[in-house]
Each structure stands twice: as structure tokens, then as C-alpha cells.
């Protein structure tokens, strides 16, 4: 097996092993064993860096359903490698952190099994080349995210958040699947690489734009883009390590990965450029705007994640313009946005991961994350405070931290996009840097809130559950590593840029050379630097006078938030489907029979008429002796008479007449075995009917209304007619030869001269054996129904 396929399967295998080994571990925390999985995988992927950065790609295929073009094909290029390193690297840090974060009373085997499930699925998403395989892994990440958000399932909010995230992301996933199928219809392949190489000739195809928007729907729901962002704040009910891992560093980046992966397919068109850029910018602004008003630190981080994801998304949108120009100077200028997107993708994982861990530590050590109760913690948690400053200042885009570099590049890209000589950017392009700058001011404000409201100000010991002390050393290791990375990347950014970002850029913008810049912190006093200085000044003022302008948030009425709309939609959906179902599921048997026969008449009879299969041909009929006609007439009269008789005894006897007449027909039609069986069975059945009548109430006349009787009669006659017509048509046409001649060798094949018996006892002996099983079950049923008492008591228990 190829190493990369093993890398995807390894977490799944480990997850399956957890329930087997966790009991034997004794006091050892299972997290220490689980920790090895992402660590080993990180090593495997890190080993690939030299090869990938020199321009190689790795592909491997495991045949799955080759006849349908569905293969387990793996493809590792620069873009996949960055995400794979994030998944495994952050995975290692988060699992280390969780060992100290989770309490031993939590169900650790479940937690780590879900986490490994997620890790494997996420690796599958970023490494799959086949779209359907990618889709399966994609939905698996949604499911594992659902399980992890609902990890503390005894809380109502956890269940609500889990359901919300699942509904929204799976809804988008279905859209994405439809988009994938459209791509397959156009190009005839499920392989991303083959689609990229052939899509050029399909840009006029009618499905090109529907496929684009459906794929984007999947990406936007997964990456919590406006207006689908509402699931992410509710997902914060998950344990903090999960929030740090899934809902900021990896899973929500799957949508961004998808956009990056499909940029070579759809990029270069005006629709892609504007949709991705604008949705990203609106999300960037709205996320930062909402983050400022939050009082729960985790909710604040959730909105800030939404905002930052919007930033990365909009950068990928702007960068796609490079494909419009192709290789050259213009391509290189606009391609810078994509480089910035990849850079910020990595940076965001480092500082947001660190911040989530810091908030987790505060919550763990103090017992609350409400900023109204926090304050003055710097003196008690100096190390945690340091990490908080590093993470927040990096997110705010201040120098000495990696966020500064990618933020400056973001401004460069937005200024470039404003002057784009294509896609009618002349009219509205100026909006891009304006929104970018405004949102960055708000970002600065909430970053200050995180640091100053939590760690400065007055300490309020009365409002806290516990006395704050620094957490155990192990809990500090992961945020420490991330903080070192944040600062380290600022000083040696080109190590990252040359080895990881440049090869990834080739995956997003194939054929565009020269877009990857030499990263440097100092560009002189250019517009970008003035923008940053402006952010610091205006942001500081806004933070200072927050209380005054906070009234802005009251403008939007409660009932009109997206959350309220979502809740209303879900409620009315439930109500209406309930109403609809209870309309036809009446619990009344005759109604159900009416549906069944009505459907049968419409479907079978309708098909018969519409397809013109109806044909009647009497020529193959055998001659008609008079005594047989008499018998048939007797049966018909007896059957119709059953409907009108007043006494139930008469009706059962008439049923007997039918049964015995059929026995006579069996004799006439050369079926002696049937006749014998029918005689015996009919006698027993009639006796059984009479026996039951002894216990059952008198036969009441049908108290139905006339309309109902007519309706029933119509259904009955139509049903009888349908059967008759189908049978006549079957008689008239002979599509296939009869298979019965085979059984005429019964003596040679089965050693029996009675063909019917040979069929039952030998050719279809297994069938007959199962038939006796059915009889046996019916017998047990009859016996049980008669003997077992106390039905009423058991019913009470069920209530």
C-alpha cells in the first residue's frame, strides 16, 4: 500500500482500536497513545516537503469502482501538503493540550475516537483527487464535527449547535455533490486533475455556471461564509480543543481548500472573481462587526474566525484574476493575492489556535469566559497572558508577529484589485480596500478586547468560581509552540514561503510564474503601512469609546437576525411536515388500503394504457365446455352475494363455496395436487372462521355513508378491471419462451415422476423449507396471541 493511502487510513485504524485497548491501560490517559498518530503522520508529511518544494507531486491509486470511474486516487501537491501539515501538526498540539484540558470523568475513548475519525476524514478531503471520494470524506468531516460538538450531549445548547452545524454543512455538501455531478457530465471524469486540464473547452457549456455556484455553496457553508456563518458560533459548545482544531484551524478551512482547488477550474471568470471576493469581504466585515459585541470570549473568537475565513476567501477571489491575464506581469501582480491567502491560512491557524488554547486555559483555571466577570488576570496568569498578547497582536496585524506580514499583503492585494482593468472593477473596485480597511479596524478593536478586558483592569475575585493560578505545564506547551511559530515566521518568513507557499501557489494558479514574492516586513512608507497606522489610531479610539458607539448594535431587531430566521424556518418546517403527515397517516386501515389500491390502479393501469401495452387476443384460448361456464357463473354469483348477505355465517359459507369451486377447477385443469390441498385447507379455514365467530361480535351492517360506499365501489371495480386488463394483455403477448419445459426432465434430474412434487421437494426445496418456517412462525404467533395475558400492563410500562 502506498504511504499516502496508509496515512489516510491510519487514523481510522487507530480509532477502531481505541475501544479495544482503552480498558487495559489502567491509569494511563489514552490521549498519550493517540498523540502518536498525528505525530507520526506529521513526520511522514514533513518528509515530503523537500520533494514537493522542488516541484514534484505524488499520486497513487487504489481501484475501487473502476467501471464507474470512481477510484481511491490520492494526489499530493503543495496545496494538499500545507493542509496535511496543518491537520497533523495542529492535531498533535491539540491532542497534547486536550490531555490536560479534559476531565477524567469525560468519556475519553469517545472523544479521541471521534477526533481520529475527523483527522482521517480531513486528510482524505485534502488528498483525494477523485471528486466522489472527496465528497465522502467531506461529509465524514461534517459527521465527526457533529459528534464532537455534541460531545457534552447532556447540554441542550450542545445538541442545538451540533444539529445546526450538521444541517447547514450537509445542505451545502449536497449542493456540492450536485455540482460535482455536473462537472462529470461536462468533462466525463471525476478526477480533479483531468477536469483542470480539460475544463477550458467547456466554459460555454450550460452547466458551467450552475456547477460553479453549487461547488461554491458547499465551500461557503463549510467555511462559515455569510450568511451561512451562523452555525460556527453555536459550534463553540464543543470542548475547547475541538474548537481550536476543527472550528478554526482545519475543518472550516476545507471550504477554503475547495475554493483554492477549484480556482484552476472556474478561476479567471468574472462570476468567480466577484462571488468569492464579495462573499469573503462581506463575511470579513460582518464577522468582525459581530465579534466586537460578544461578551463570551469563545463566541468572540468564533466570530473572529468567521471574519478571518472571509479574509482568506476574498484573497482567493482576488487572486483568481491572475488566471484571466495568464502568465506575465499582470498575472504575477494579481497572483500575489493568492500567495497572501495561503500565507494567511497558515498564520491564522497558528494565532487562532493559540488564542483558543488561551481562552481554554482561562476557562479551565477560572471557571468562566465571560469578559464581564474577568479582568486583572495578568498578575495571576503571566505566561498565559504572554501567549494571549502574541496571538491577539498577530491577529490585529501588528509588527513582530506573522499576522502583520500577511495583513500587509492583504492590503496590497486589495489595492491591486481596486485597480483591476477587467471584470468591470473600475466602477466598484474601490469598495474592496475600503471594506478591507474598515473590517481590519474592527478586528483591531476585538483583539484589544481579548487582551485588555481579560488581563488588565480590576480583578473581581467575587465573580470567579476559582482562584486563578497558572495551569499545569503540559497545558502550556502547545500554545507556547504556536507562539514561537508566530514570532518565528515574522523573522524568517521566506523559509515558509519558499518551501511550502510557493509550491502551493503552483497548485492554485498553474502556469502563473513570478507571483510568489520575497516576503519582507519593511517596504518603506507606502499606502499599506499608512493603512496599518490608521487602523491602530482609529481602532484605539473606537476601543476607548466603545460604550458610546455600541448602540449601533441595537439597530437590527432581534427577530430579523439570521439565527432567528434559521430557527423560524426549522420550526415551521417541523410543524408543516407534521401537519402534512398527520393528514394522510390517519391510523385507519381502510384509508391505507385505499392508498395502496389507488396507487396500484393509477401506476399499473395507467402504465398499461399510456404505453399502449393493452391488447386482447382470444385465439389461443382453449374450448369452453358448458359445465365449466356454469361453475364460473356460480362462483361469480357467490362472490357478489358475499357483499350483500346480512349474516356472517352465510358469508363464510359462501367463501367456502368459492374455495370448493376452485378445487373443482383445479381438478378440471389437471392439477390433482392442488385440488387435494385446496380441499383440506378450505375445510380447515372454514372451521377456523366458524370457531372465531363464536368469540367475535355479531356482524353489524356497514354504517358507512353513501358517498363512501360509492367511492369504495369505484376503487374495487377499477382494481378488478385493472387486474383483468393486465391478465388479458399478458395472455395476448408472449415475450419469452416458457421455462417450464426444463422441469419435464424431473425424473432424470430429481428422480420424481410427479413434476409438481419434484419442483417443491427438490428444485425449489430450499424455498419449501422456508415456507414451513413461515408456517412455524405463524403457529407461534397464533399460540402466543391466544396464551399470553397481561397486554394492558405491558402497555402501561411503555408509556
Amino acid at each position: 500500500m502506498h504511504l499516502l493511502i496508509f496515512a489516510i487510513l491510519f487514523p481510522f485504524l487507530a480509532a477502531a482500536l481505541i475501544p479495544l485497548i482503552h480498558r487495559r491501560l489502567g491509569p494511563l490517559n489514552i490521549g498519550w497513545l493517540v498523540l502518536a498518530v498525528p505525530f507520526i503522520l506529521f513526520g511522514i508529511f514533513a518528509w515530503q516537503i523537500p520533494g514537493i518544494s522542488s516541484g514534484d507531486t505524488i499520486a497513487a491509486t487504489l481501484h475501487w469502482i473502476p467501471s464507474l470511474g470512481i477510484n481511491f486516487s490520492i494526489y499530493l501537491d503543495g496545496l494538499s501538503l500545507i493542509l496535511a501539515l496543518l491537520i497533523t501538526g495542529m492535531g498533535t498540539l491539540v491532542i497534547l493540550y486536550s490531555i490536560y484540558y479534559l476531565s477524567p470523568t469525560d468519556s475519553l475513548p469517545h472523544f479521541y475516537a471521534y477526533l481520529l475519525l475527523f483527522m482521517g476524514a480531513m486528510l482524505g478531503v485534502v488528498l483525494s483527487d477523485n471528486l466522489l471520494v472527496l465528497y465522502v470524506f467531506w461529509e465524514l468531516t461534517s459527521i465527526s464535527s457533529f459528534l464532537l460538538i455534541a460531545f457534552w450531549f447532556h447540554r441542550k445548547n450542545s445538541r442545538y449547535g451540533a444539529q445546526k452545524s450538521l444541517l447547514i454543512t450537509v445542505f451545502g455538501g449536497f449542493g456540492m455533490l450536485a455540482g460535482f455531478l455536473m462537472l462529470h457530465t461536462m468533462t466525463g471524469t471525476f478526477s480533479v486533475r483531468e477536469i483542470v486540464s480539460t475544463i477550458g473547452q467547456y466554459s460555454d457549456h450550460g452547466l458551467f455556471y450552475p456547477a460553479m455556484f453549487l461547488v461554491l455553496l458547499g465551500a461557503f457553508t463549510k467555511s462559515a461564509q455569510f450568511p451561512f456563518h451562523i452555525w460556527l458560533p453555536d459550534a463553540m459548545e464543543a470542548p475547547t480543543p475541538v474548537s481550536a482544531y476543527l472550528h478554526s484551524a482545519t475543518m472550516v478551512k476545507a471550504g477554503i481548500y475547495l475554493v483554492a482547488r477549484f480556482t484552476p477550474v472556474f478561476g479567471g471568470t468574472s462570476a468567480w472573481f466577484w462571488t468569492v471576493t464579495l462573499v469573503g469581504l462581506v463575511t470579513l466585515f460582518w464577522g468582525s462587526f459581530c465579534a466586537v459585541r460578544q461578551t463570551d470570549l469563545k463566541a468572540l473568537l468564533a466570530y473572529s474566525t468567521v471574519s478571518q475565513l472571509g479574509l482568506i476567501m476574498s484573497l482567493f477571489g482576488m487572486g483568481s484574476a491572475a488566471l484571466h491575464f495568464g502568465d506575465g506581469e499582470a498575472g504575477a501582480v494579481y497572483g500575489l493575492a493568492t500567495f497572501a491567502a495561503l500565507f494567511h491560512l497558515v498564520n491564522h491557524s497558528t494565532f487562532k489556535g493559540a488564542l483558543f488554547m488561551v481562552v481554554g486555559i482561562v476557562d479551565h483555571q477560572v471557571g468562566t469566559r465571560d469578559i464581564r466577570r474577568l479582568g486583572g488576570l495578568m498578575a495571576f496568569l503571566p505566561i498565559t497572558f504572554t501567549f494571549a498578547v502574541i496571538g491577539s497582536f498577530s491577529m490585529a496585524g501588528l509588527p513582530l508577529f506573522n499576522g502583520f506580514l500577511s495583513k500587509e499583503m492583504f492590503f496590497t492585494a486589495s489595492l491591486n484589485a481596486a485597480g483591476l482593468p477587467a471584470f468591470s472593477a473600475e466602477t466598484w473596485g474601490w469598495l474592496i480596500p475600503v471594506i478591507a480597511w474598515t473590517a481590519s479596524v474592527l478586528t483591531f478593536v476585538y483583539c484589544m478586547i481579548i487582551v485588555f478586558r481579560t488581563f488588565f483592569g480590576k480583578h473581581q475575585p467575587k465573580k470567579l468560581d476559582k482562584k486563578p493560578v497558572e495551569p499545569p505545564f503540559g497545558m502550556l506547551v502547545s500554545p507556547a509552540i504556536l507562539s514561537i511559530l508566530i514570532v518565528g515566521v515574522f523573522f524568517v518568513p521566506n523559509l515558509l514561503g519558499d518551501h511550502l507557499l510557493r509550491p502551493a501557489l503552483n497548485g492554485v494558479l498553474p502556469g502563473i510564474t513570478g507571483a510568489a514574492p520575497h516576503i519582507s516586513a519593511w517596504h518603506g512608507f507606502n499606502t499599506e503601512l499608512w493603512m496599518t497606522i490608521g487602523i491602530i489610531v482609529v481602532g484605539f479610539l473606537l476601543y476607548k469609546y466603545l460604550r458610546i458607539w455600541k448602540k449601533v448594535y441595537a439597530i437590527i431587531p432581534e427577530g430579523w437576525t439570521f439565527n432567528a430566521l434559521y430557527n423560524k424556518f426549522l420550526e415551521s418546517l417541523e410543524e408543516n411536515s407534521n401537519r402534512l403527515t398527520s393528514k394522510y397517516m390517519t391510523g385507519y386501515l381502510p384509508h391505507y388500503f385505499a392508498y395502496i389500491f389507488g396507487f396500484f390502479i393509477l401506476a399499473a393501469g395507467g402504465t398499461l394504457l399510456l404505453t399502449g401495452a393493452l391488447s386482447i387476443d382470444f385465439s389461443t384460448d382453449t374450448p369452453i365446455p358448458s359445465y365449466e361456464v356454469i361453475l364460473a357463473v356460480v362462483m361469480a354469483i357467490a362472490a357478489i352475494a358475499i357483499l350483500f348477505v346480512k349474516s356472517r355465517l352465510t358469508s363464510v359459507l359462501l367463501n367456502g363455496v368459492l374455495g370448493y369451486s376452485i378445487a373443482i377447477f383445479f381438478v378440471l385443469f389437471r392439477a390433482p395436487d392442488l385440488a387435494l390441498t385446496q380441499l383440506v385447507i378450505e375445510t380447515v379455514t372454514t372451521a377456523l372462521f366458524l370457531l372465531c365467530f363464536y368469540f367475535l361480535p355479531e356482524w353489524k351492517p356497514e354504517a358507512a355513508s353513501k358517498n363512501l360506499k360509492i367511492r369504495n365501489a369505484v376503487i374495487a371495480v377499477a382494481g378488478g378491471l385493472t387486474v383483468t386488463l393486465i391478465a388479458l394483455s399478458v395472455r395476448a403477448g408472449n415475450l419469452y419462451d416458457s421455462i417450464s419445459s426444463y422441469y419435464e426432465n424431473a425424473y432424470e434430474l430429481a428422480g420424481g415422476k410427479n413434476i409438481v412434487n419434484a419442483i417443491l421437494g427438490d428444485f425449489r426445496g430450499f424455498d419449501t423449507m422456508l415456507e414451513t418456517l413461515v408456517l412455524f412462525i405463524a403457529g407461534i404467533g397464533v399460540y402466543t396471541l391466544i396464551r399470553i395475558k397481561g397486554g394492558k400492563e405491558t402497555r402501561k410500562n411503555e408509556d
Partner: protein, 112 residues
């Protein structure tokens, strides 16, 4: 002859459906019994009637009637007997417990 049998099958089916649509449980059971009669005749007629002698190989005849429908019907007769017996007893038990054989009164309680 087949055409007459097919018309007979149609009449039996119509009667059976009408009985199945009624409110009384006993009539419903009677309906299932008649429906199985109809189906047995139908299967036999579909295989062709009297196109040979009894399917016993010792008869030294030129041709035998189709044995396969007969085998199927034999199975069907036995199974329909089992079903009829079971629902008869079910009706008996339901009457014992609920005091009615009227399906309108037997509607399940709402589970919420």
C-alpha cells in the same frame, strides 16, 4: 376458457378489494381470503389451461400441462392459510383486549 377465468378473477378481485375497504375486521379478513383465491386462479390461467395431461411422468402422454404454476400455487395456498389463521386469531385477540372489531375505533393513540 382462459378469458372466462380471467373475468372471474377480475370479479373476485373487485369483491375482495371492496371487503378490504370496509370497517369491520372480519370482512377485511374475508377479503384477504377471497383475494388469494383470485390470485391462485390468475396464476393458473397465466400458465395456459388444459394444454396437455396431468403432470405425472408415468402417464406416457405427448404433453403435460405447465407444472410450474401449480407448484407456485401450492406454496401460495399454504402460506395464505397461515396468514388467514394468524389474522383471524389477531382479530380475536384484538376484540378480547379492545372490545370492538371496528377499525375506526382501533386507531392508534397519538404517541405524543
Amino acid at each position: 376458457m382462459e378469458t372466462i377465468i380471467i373475468f372471474l378473477v377480475g370479479i373476485l378481485t373487485a369483491v375482495a378489494i371492496y371487503l378490504l375497504l370496509s370497517k369491520s375486521l372480519i370482512r377485511v379478513i374475508l377479503g384477504t381470503a377471497i383475494l388469494s383465491h383470485a390470485v391462485h386462479l390468475l396464476i393458473l390461467a397465466m400458465g395456459g389451461l388444459k394444454e396437455g395431461t396431468v403432470p405425472l411422468l408415468g402417464e406416457e402422454a405427448e404433453s403435460y400441462v405447465d407444472a410450474l404454476p401449480q407448484a407456485l400455487i401450492l406454496t401460495a395456498i399454504v402460506i395464505s392459510f397461515a396468514v388467514t389463521a394468524f389474522i383471524l386469531v389477531l382479530a380475536y385477540r384484538a376484540y378480547q383486549e379492545l372490545g370492538t372489531d371496528d377499525l375506526d375505533e382501533m386507531r392508534g393513540v397519538n404517541d405524543e
